[in-house]
Amino acid sequence: DTAVSQTPKYLVTQMGNDKSIKCEQNLGHDTMYWYKQDSKKFLKIMFSYNNKELIINETVPNRFSPKSPDKAHLNLHINSLELGDSAVYFCASTERLTGKETQYFGPGTRLLVL
């Protein structure tokens, strides 16, 4: 019954490695997002996809590459991980342009880069 799910929930890795985080939603929404929450709890948009098309890219380093194989999935691949990438990454989804636009969040993935 999970609406927005993310895997893994925790990710500990070494600097320089490449890692991926997966997100799936079963709400039938057409728009998905990646947000980053830093150590001070500040949440900021990274990317948004609508029906597999990138619609928001908020000046994120190109080491971060989102991929949306279909409208229910949005994955985040990170190359050459750096210490500053340590954060909690949230996936979210909504149904766009409906007047009922509420974003529902996944449980978050805590990434720790050593």
Binding site: I45, T94, F105
Partner: protein, 115 residues
């Protein structure tokens, strides 16, 4: 650019009492949405309440209500009969929609409930 300001980094309230969390925002738009999200220690982002800017009536959800002052660009959250489970970070968020899809968050208010 839209900004959201939460001027209270921390608040505390006695159990069963009422507390109000402040939020102001800056926008030149007339149609938009405002949200309060709760983030307990589990870190899950939970929607508390939502307000459409075109609605004059303040939104309510059980013990949670808002005071939406559109002209003043103010959107405060009132929690009545505070419970221990209300302890969390609370984030105010602005959403323009209509092709500008991102949520813009405030910096959050940490709410502590005193038994």
């Amino acid at each position: 650019a839209q900004t959201v300001t939460q001027s209270q980094p921390e608040m505390s309230v006695q159990e069963a009492e009422t507390v109000t969390l402040s939020c102001t925002y800056d926008t030149s738009e007339s149609d938009y949405y405002l949200f309060w999200y709760k983030q307990p220690p589990s870190r899950q982002m939970i929607l508390v309440i939502r307000q459409e800017a075109y609605k004059q009536q303040n939104a309510t959800e059980n013990r949670f209500s808002v005071n939406f002052q559109k002209a003043a660009k103010s959107f405060s959250l009132k929690i009545s009969d505070s419970q221990l489970g209300d302890a969390a970070m609370y984030f105010c968020a602005y959403y323009r929609g209509f092709g500008n899809e991102k949520l813009t968050f405030g910096t959050g208010t940490r709410l502590t409930i005193i038994p």
